[in-house]
């Protein structure tokens, strides 16, 4: 158990786990459906602790993710920094929502991130993904309540403030 306020490690570890989930091998048919774990975890921390996790953290996590998954440097960084910015602007409202409304809000944020990534891919002559691409935010939104509860447990257990 650590002292209150000393939660940097907890935040880092959860982010690292999310990154691992992003690159863990999955069967070929399931690969396009992989939810954006890093975005979800980062959004939780941005909503819960806006003074600790901000646009800068989003940017750094995005860069690491870009290197990790081999995308163009800045593709994830752009999406994550925009999404964390919006989440921090709205954090007081999102916190008091019931779960299903939170999920809807998260869905919008995830769609924005996905849209930004799509623009980057389109601008750099990447592949134009099919409709499957848009199921990723849906899956993320469905997963949100569980991620929220889990990370809240983590936060309370390690007394991250």
């Amino acid at each position: 158990m650590s002292e209150p306020g000393d939660g940097r490690l907890a935040i880092l570890v959860t982010l690292c786990v999310a990154m691992l989930l992003m690159i863990l091998p999955m069967p070929e048919w399931a690969r396009p459906f992989r939810p954006h774990w890093v975005t979800l975890v980062l959004l939780y921390w941005a909503i819960a602790l806006p003074h600790r996790v901000g646009v800068g953290s989003g940017f750094m996590a995005g860069i690491v993710l870009d290197v990790l998954t081999g995308t163009l440097l800045g593709q994830h960084a752009l999406g994550l920094s925009v999404v964390t910015f919006i989440a921090i602007q709205l954090h007081q409202r999102i916190r008091v929502f019931p779960f299903w409304q939170q999920s809807l809000g998260i869905l919008v944020l995830l769609v924005i991130e996905q849209l930004l990534a799509l623009w980057v891919m389109g601008a750099t002559r990447g592949v134009t993904p099919g409709l499957v691409y848009w199921t990723v935010p849906l899956i993320g939104a469905v997963l949100w309540p569980w991620i929220f509860v889990t990370l809240r447990k983590v936060r309370r257990h390690f007394k991250v403030i």
Partner: protein, 299 residues
């Protein structure tokens, strides 16, 4: 946000960020390693727990296959000698002999909309950017990013990859561009009247200076000749098992020969079945100091 936009542009247009990317990739290597761990562990378990009979049977099979391949090789060697003799006659002989090193794919998933894989050999083994990568059947792609212990390989089917090829039957030269689908290449620059038929084998022409000439690449699967279009649309299927191969070959061609020799003590390899030094077929001794050619594969 502006910073990330700038990064995007810089990374796309220029290649100044390779160093930054390599450094970061080195720092994130532990994550890749952990993600690969379950697979490595299971294959290790499989190997240790397999029975003596299975091993013996496998051994016998491999010995048979080795014999067959050796017989094939003899034929090939005599043909090569004959070829060199004929080329000597017309004064255009060149040195044959590529050095290869076996590397293994890490089972790590990258972005699903890019055709890239990670292999477990990096600059510590002498891999370099732009190095051709083959599997047992054909050309797979080229190395685009190296860190000391791993490197990223861009497959020939990625949309940003283009490969100079040649039809084996008649020597017709063209360029094979990736489509983003793992089993398809397209040949967009062939006029409607060009001599190409379904089933033609495409081999590397060696023209870009990056890939050695004469390695098989793909088989032509579909040709659409519409009379009103200037070019026919030709699709080909890569011969390499891009989505199934586990072992790949890194190739050093003669003109691009690196002066460094692969150092052998390799860390982090408990479950590597094949000893690497045995994989080197022909060591070519002249260390030609040719500077790296610029990336020609970006369309």
């Amino acid at each position: 946000m502006v910073l990330s936009l700038m990064l995007l542009v810089v990374d796309h247009r220029f290649h100044h960020l390779q160093h930054l990317r390599s450094t970061l990739a080195f720092l994130t290597y532990p994550l890749h390693y952990i993600a690969d761990l379950p697979f490595t562990a299971t294959s290790w378990l499989n190997e240790t727990a397999s029975s003596r009979d299975t091993l013996l049977a496998q051994n016998r099979d491999l010995r048979d296959k080795n014999l067959h391949l050796r017989a094939e090789l003899q034929k090939y060697e005599s043909l090569q000698a004959e070829n060199m003799r004929l080329r000597d006659l017309v004064d255009s002989s060149f040195k044959v002999g590529d050095r290869v090193l076996v590397a293994e794919l890490s089972s790590v998933d990258l972005d699903p909309y890019k055709q890239q894989v990670i292999i477990n050999k990096g600059s510590a083994s002498g891999a370099f950017e732009g190095q051709p990568v083959l599997d047992a059947h054909a050309v797979m792609g080229q190395v685009i990013n190296v860190t000391p212990f791993s490197s990223i390989v861009l497959l020939i089917t990625d949309t940003s990859h283009a490969l100079p090829v040649q039809v084996l039957r008649n020597g017709l030269r063209t360029i094979a561009v990736g489509t983003g689908r793992i089993s398809e290449l397209k040949l967009p620059y062939l006029p409607t009247n060009s001599d190409i038929v379904e089933g033609d084998l495409l081999v590397t022409s060696g023209l870009g200076g990056k890939f050695p000439p004469g390695y098989p690449v793909a088989t032509v699967t579909r040709i659409d000749r519409s009379p009103d279009a200037p070019f026919s649309s030709v699709l080909a299927q890569p011969r390499a098992h891009l989505d199934r191969s586990r072992e790949v070959l890194l190739v050093w061609t003669v003109p691009n020969q690196l002066p460094v020799t692969p150092r052998e003590p390799e860390p982090a390899e408990e479950a590597d079945p094949a000893p690497e030094p045995a994989a080197e077929t022909e060591s070519v001794t002249e260390p030609a100091a040719v500077p790296e050619t610029p990336r020609e594969s970006e369309t």
